[in-house]
């Protein structure tokens, strides 16, 4: 399910509208994920505070969205554009790739709460495809 030119345009258009709120989206999505999918907390046992709105969650949400921004910029070649991040996740973080789908879902729910008019079904399908391809690029170096 690779990205068509239409998909890429839709993702970029949506990103233009939501990028100013990227930090808030990232923090909310990550905090939400840790609550809705408690098994994901296992990756953050080294944090003093896992509550939504806490400092580590807010900081890390921002980091994640910087990665998403990088992916939007490299949308024409996600695999090479995200090589460094793939190596990080594969060799150091060793996050089970099934979790990428979970975070993608949380991102979409948060975008729906914050930008209900912009997150039309058409924008949703393009973003869903984009996040799936992003996850695939992130998994590239796993094995």
């Amino acid at each position: 399910m690779s990205l068509t030119d239409k998909d890429k345009a839709a993702v970029k258009a949506l990103w233009t509208k939501i990028s100013k709120g990227a930090d808030a989206i990232g923090a909310d999505a990550l905090g939400r994920m840790l609550i809705v999918y408690p098994q994901t907390k296992t990756y953050f046992s080294h944090w003093p505070d896992l509550k939504a709105g806490s400092a580590p969650v807010t900081k890390h949400g921002k980091k994640i969205m910087a990665g998403v921004a990088q992916a939007v910029a490299k949308i024409d070649d996600l695999t090479s554009g995200l090589l460094d991040l793939s190596e990080l996740h594969a060799f150091q973080l060793r996050v089970d790739p099934a979790n990428f789908k979970i975070l993608a879902h949380c991102l979409q729910v948060v975008i729906a709460t914050m930008y209900p008019n912009e997150f039309t079904p058409e924008a949703h399908v393009a973003l869903d495809k984009f996040l799936s391809n992003l996850a695939l690029a992130l998994s590239e170096k796993y094995r």
């Binding site: 909310d28 905090g31 939400r32 609550i35 809705v36 939504a52 879902h105 979409q108 729910v109 948060v110 729906a112 709460t113 914050m114 209900p116 997150f119 039309t120 079904p121 058409e122 949703h124 399908v125 869903d128």
Partner: protein
């Protein structure tokens, strides 16, 4: 037996009392048909599903969206035994409609996105968790009679 906390029970009742069924049902189903187009395989008799605009304005999709959410309401009213409440619906989906049960999760995700859009910040992480737990129980109950 599914155990619901007081918070989870109250949250589900609260969410379903707040959402507009006539909007949410059709919106969730049409979003599912747009975001996951392979789900259109079950709606061959619904006419024009070629473009997103056609799907969102399709009266059969809208009508069926209302049927789906009316079915969900049965679960909301019988949270203590959704499995038994859904026995016939499960047989229907398995034997007559022959829906791949993985599709239930796709519709559940679209329903979550639509409810989130309706409720905005009021769709808190804790409320979101309760809502997804509820949908997970619904999906498991719908899968129960498949063999």
């Amino acid at each position: 037996m599914v155990k619901w906390t007081d918070f989870e029970c109250a949250t589900i009742q609260d969410i379903f009392s707040k959402i507009d069924y006539d909007v949410v049902g059709p919106a969730a189903l049409s979003r599912c048909l747009i975001v996951y187009p392979w789900t259109q395989r079950y709606f061959g008799g619904f006419g024009n599903l070629y473009k997103a605009a056609a799907i969102t304005s399709n009266p059969k999709v809208a009508a069926h969206g209302k049927v789906v959410i009316a079915g969900l309401e049965k679960a909301v009213k019988n949270m203590d035994d959704i499995k038994t409440t859904y026995k016939d619906l499960s047989v229907l989906h398995s034997e007559k409609l022959q829906v791949d049960p993985d599709n239930f999760n796709l519709l559940a995700d679209c329903l979550t996105v639509v409810v989130a859009g309706q409720m905005g910040a009021a769709f808190t992480p804790e409320g979101h968790a309760a809502f997804q737990k509820f949908l997970a129980v619904v999906v498991a109950s719908l899968r129960k009679q498949y063999n």
